[in-house]
């Protein structure tokens, strides 16, 4: 099953629509709650990142029996220092974002923690593509 969503760039209330809907679909398909949780939190973090830093973007999700993959693509400013961005607590989010409860510098670290596969392609001035997957372990 393939799903496609647009993430708006300036509306933090709408960022989260993709992860919310993916969660409902995965639950309905009967995926394990831990798998659903790890995948949808990761998509939400990436959606928020795109809304804060990149003026929005698109999310493509593919649901397979053995893995769930999400590709998040934006045409934003790119990530100049990826090593720093992967560190817990490092953030460039502005103050108005912090007052919403974001900007703790935990977005990418959370995604890395919760996904089994994470690939980040970023070019400064051009944009960023995050490819992430959670693998379904056979019982």
């Amino acid at each position: 099953m393939k799903l496609h969503y647009k993430v708006p760039g300036d509306d933090f209330t709408r960022a989260g629509e993709a992860s919310g809907e993916v969660k409902r679909k995965l639950k309905r398909l009967g995926f394990d709650s831990d798998v659903v949780r790890r995948m949808t939190i990761s998509i939400y973090e990436a959606e928020i990142n795109m809304a804060i830093h990149a003026g929005g973007g698109v999310v493509d999700v593919e649901i397979m029996p053995d893995r769930i993959t999400a590709v998040l693509t934006d045409d934003g400013p790119g990530i100049p220092d990826l090593d720093k961005a992967m560190q817990e607590g490092w953030s460039t989010a502005p103050d108005n974002i912090r007052s919403l409860g974001f900007g703790a510098g935990m977005g990418l670290p959370n995604i890395k923690k919760y996904t089994d596969i994470l690939k980040i392609d970023t070019v400064v001035g051009k944009g960023t593509t995050l490819t992430m997957a959670v693998l379904i372990k056979p019982e």
Binding site: G16, S19, S33, I41, G101, M106
Partner: protein, 123 residues
């Protein structure tokens, strides 16, 4: 212990009823949303002062049993509506996050010991 029992024991104000039959298996206190998503566990009672729409999304995605707003923190109108739709119980107290966390920890432990038939005087 269910959310409904927790409400009674802590005398919490109910802002959104939600699924009161959810089992509370632990607790987490925090206001930074990504921190909560990285650390809170499924079934936790989440204590926070964040009453915005994003907090509801975090509770849904993290599978917390409920949100408890400490120190009479405000719940935004759109957040309340989303919580109703999602069935997330939103509760409120005038006590601090610290006080609530201590009480919940005590309740959960005593409850477990009661159910297991062991001492209720763990603390």
């Amino acid at each position: 212990m269910t959310v409904t029992e927790l409400v009674k024991r802590l005398n919490l104000e109910i802002l959104v009823e939600g699924d009161g039959s959810r089992e509370v298996t632990g607790g987490y206190a925090g206001d930074l949303l990504s921190w909560v998503m990285g650390r809170a566990r499924e079934g936790d009672a989440w204590i926070t002062v964040m009453g915005n729409l994003n907090a509801i999304a975090v509770a849904v995605l993290s599978d917390t049993a409920c949100i408890i707003l400490s120190e009479d923190a405000a719940l935004d109108k759109d957040a309340r509506e989303r919580a109703v739709t999602e069935g997330i119980p939103i509760l409120r107290s005038s006590e601090t996050s610290f006080q609530l966390a201590v009480k919940i920890d005590r309740l959960l432990h005593n409850y477990k010991y009661n159910v297991d038939g062991f001492s209720t005087h763990r603390y």
